[in-house]
C-alpha cells in the first residue's frame, strides 16, 4: 500500500480502497487539532484507522479540517440538499413516486410545491420530469423530495421541466457541469442560446429553440467528459461547423 504523505498534496493524490490516511497528516494543518470531518469515500475502520473506500482523488479543505475522496460513478445514491432530475413513475393521494436513478424511487409530497394547498396543487402525470431537491436522504429509507426552497417556500427554479431533452451522464460530469466556469458550456453558449438544468443524479435537461440545436448541445456535453481544454474547443468547433 502506498502510504500517503501530505507533501504530495499539490498534485493529484490518488487513493484506492484500503489506503490508510496517516494520522499525522490528518491533524497537522487543523487549528482545532482534534476535530476532523470525513466526507464521501472515507470511512473509519475497525482498527481506528481512516481508510479510503472508493477510488478517487483525495481532497482536503483546511476549514473544518475536511477530508474527502472525489470519485466518479454512474449510479446515484441520494444525499440531502442535492438538486436532482426525476421522472414521475406513480402517484398516490399523498405522494408522487419519482425515479431518481437510485436504488429505490423517491417520494415527493403532493404539497411540496410553492404555494400548494389541499385545494390548489399542481397536477403531474406519469412520465413528467421534475427538477427537485432532496429534502431527506437516509440509507434505510426512501429519499424524500420537494419542489421548493425550504427556507423561502419559493419555487426557485424547481418544478416541472417542460419540453427539451434529457441525457444521462456520469455523476462526475454532472458535478463539473454545475461549475459556473465550465468550459464546454461556455463554448456551446457562444454559438447557441440554450437553457439547461443539471441534476447531481447525472441527468441533464437541455432545451433550445430547435431540435437540431438541442441534439448538438447534448452531444457536445456528452463528448466533453474525457477531453482536455484544447480538445474541447476543437470538438465544439467541429460540431458547430457540421450544422
Amino acid at each position: 500500500m502506498a502510504s500517503i504523505t501530505t507533501e504530495q498534496e499539490s498534485e493529484l493524490l490518488i487513493v484506492l480502497p484500503g489506503d490508510q490516511l496517516p494520522e499525522s497528516g490528518l491533524m497537522e494543518d487543523s487549528s482545532a487539532a482534534h476535530r476532523l470531518t470525513l466526507g464521501p469515500g472515507l470511512a473509519p475502520m475497525d482498527d481506528d484507522s481512516i481508510t479510503a473506500v472508493k477510488a478517487g482523488i483525495l481532497k482536503h479543505n483546511a476549514v473544518g479540517n475536511r477530508w474527502w475522496v472525489e470519485s466518479n460513478q454512474r449510479r446515484y445514491v441520494a444525499a440531502q440538499g442535492e438538486s436532482i432530475i426525476g421522472v414521475v413513475t406513480g402517484k398516490t393521494a399523498e405522494h408522487y413516486k419519482v425515479d431518481i436513478g437510485a436504488s429505490q424511487p423517491a417520494l415527493l409530497g403532493v404539497l411540496a410545491f410553492e404555494g400548494a394547498t389541499k385545494r390548489n396543487k399542481p397536477n403531474h402525470n406519469i412520465g413528467d420530469s421534475l427538477y427537485c431537491r432532496v429534502s431527506m436522504a437516509n440509507k434505510d429509507m426512501e429519499a424524500e423530495l420537494e419542489c421548493m426552497n425550504p427556507t423561502t417556500g419559493k419555487a426557485d427554479g424547481f418544478g416541472e421541466l417542460k419540453g427539451g431533452f434529457i441525457i444521462k451522464v456520469s455523476l462526475g460530469l454532472a458535478r463539473r457541469l454545475l461549475d459556473p466556469k465550465n468550459l464546454v458550456l461556455r463554448l456551446l453558449g457562444q454559438h447557441i442560446p440554450f437553457e439547461m438544468a443539471v441534476g447531481t443524479n447525472g441527468k441533464v435537461w437541455v432545451n433550445s429553440a430547435s431540435a437540431q440545436h438541442t441534439i448538438l448541445l447534448c452531444n457536445g456535453i456528452r463528448n466533453s467528459e474525457y477531453l482536455n481544454a484544447a480538445e474541447c474547443v476543437a470538438m465544439v468547433k467541429s460540431l458547430v461547423e457540421k450544422m
Binding site: V87, G127, D128, S129, K162, G163, F165, A211, I215
Partner: protein, 273 residues
C-alpha cells in the same frame, strides 16, 4: 428489474426531432451506427460493436453422431441467451419475449437460410459429423441486438477454422494439418427498421431509446445477391406493401455495405496471421 420507461420529455423530443428530420444521435434515417469488428488470436471469435451495442460471438465444434434420418448432415446450433450484462432487465434463467424473438430471428436468418453447408460437415456417414456451435454473448444493449448478433454470428463462422480429419476405416484422426474453413454458401445480413408517427417515419438500426418509443419494427434478412432470407414483422402498426418494398431497397444497399466491411475486416485479419 424492469427497464424504466423514458420520460415524456424524451419521448416527445424524439418524435418531434424525427418529424424535423433528425435523430437523437445525429444520424440520418437510413444510417447504421459505426460498426467495429475485433478478432481475437483464436479462430472463430469476434466482438462486434454497433454504436454502444456490443456482442461477442464464439464458434466451437465437436464430433457427434448424426440423426439416423439425416446421416450425412452436420449440426449448426446457436446459443443466444440474453446476459444480464447487457441490461439488468435480463434475468438469468428467465426467458423474456425479447429473448425468444431474438433467438428465433437469428435461427431463421442463419440456419434456415442454409447459410452454412451442413452436408460438408459429414466425416463418416451415419457415424460421425461435425457439430458447429455459435455462442452469442450480449455484452451491452443499446438497441438493435438482432442486427449486431447476426453480423457477429456470420463473421465468426467465416473466421472459424475447424480441425482437418482423415478417415481410416471406421476411425477418424485429428490431423496436425492446417485447420480448414467452413463452407459458407452466402452471407445473410439483417437490417432492422423501426417505425414512428403512424408509420410515416422509419429509421434503420434503432437505438435503445428509439426501440422504447417505436410503434412497430421489421427485420429484413438479405444477402449480397439480393435474395431475401427472412423477413420478420412481429406486430406493431400495419404497413403499406409499398413501404415494405422501400425497406427492402434500403436494406439491399445496407447489406452490400456491411458485407464489404466484414470481408475487408476478415482480409485484414488474415494478413496479420
Amino acid at each position: 428489474m424492469k427497464d424504466a420507461d423514458p420520460s415524456t420529455n424524451e419521448r416527445e423530443f424524439l418524435l418531434a426531432a424525427l418529424k424535423d428530420g433528425a435523430r437523437i444521435d445525429g444520424r440520418k434515417f437510413y444510417d447504421f451506427r459505426t460498426l467495429r469488428l475485433t478478432f481475437g488470436a483464436e479462430y472463430g471469435a469476434v466482438e462486434v460493436q454497433l454504436g454502444n451495442t456490443r456482442v461477442l460471438a464464439k464458434v466451437s465444434c465437436e464430433v457427434i453422431r448424426p440423426y439416423t434420418d439425416k446421416p450425412t448432415e452436420g449440426f449448426l446450433m446457436f446459443n443466444t441467451e440474453l446476459s444480464p450484462m447487457a441490461s439488468a432487465a435480463f434475468e438469468v434463467g428467465r426467458q423474456t419475449d425479447e429473448e425468444v424473438l431474438v433467438s428465433r430471428l437469428i435461427e431463421k436468418a442463419m440456419r434456415r437460410s442454409r447459410a452454412l453447408d451442413t452436408e460438408g460437415l459429414c466425416i463418416v456417414a451415419g457415424e460421425k459429423v461435425w457439430s458447429i456451435r455459435v455462442d452469442i454473448h450480449f455484452l451491452d444493449h443499446d438497441g438493435n441486438l438482432v442486427d449486431a448478433a447476426c453480423i457477429a454470428a456470420i463473421t465468426a463462422l467465416l473466421h472459424f477454422r475447424r480441425p482437418d480429419v482423415t478417415v481410416v476405416g471406421e476411425d477418424h484422426t485429428l490431423e496436425q494439418r492446417n485447420p480448414v474453413p467452413l463452407s459458407i454458401h452466402h452471407i445473410p445480413i439483417c437490417t432492422t427498421f423501426a417505425f414512428f408517427n403512424n408509420g410515416e417515419r422509419m429509421v434503420v438500426d434503432p437505438t435503445f431509446l428509439e426501440e422504447q418509443v417505436k410503434e412497430g419494427d421489421m427485420t429484413i434478412t438479405l444477402n449480397v445477391h439480393k435474395e431475401v432470407c427472412a423477413l420478420s414483422k412481429a406486430g406493431g402498426i400495419p404497413m403499406e406493401i409499398d413501404q415494405i418494398l422501400q425497406c427492402t431497397k434500403i436494406a439491399v444497399v445496407k447489406v452490400a455495405e456491411i458485407t464489404a466491411q466484414i470481408q475487408a475486416a476478415l482480409e485484414a485479419d488474415a494478413k496479420k496471421r
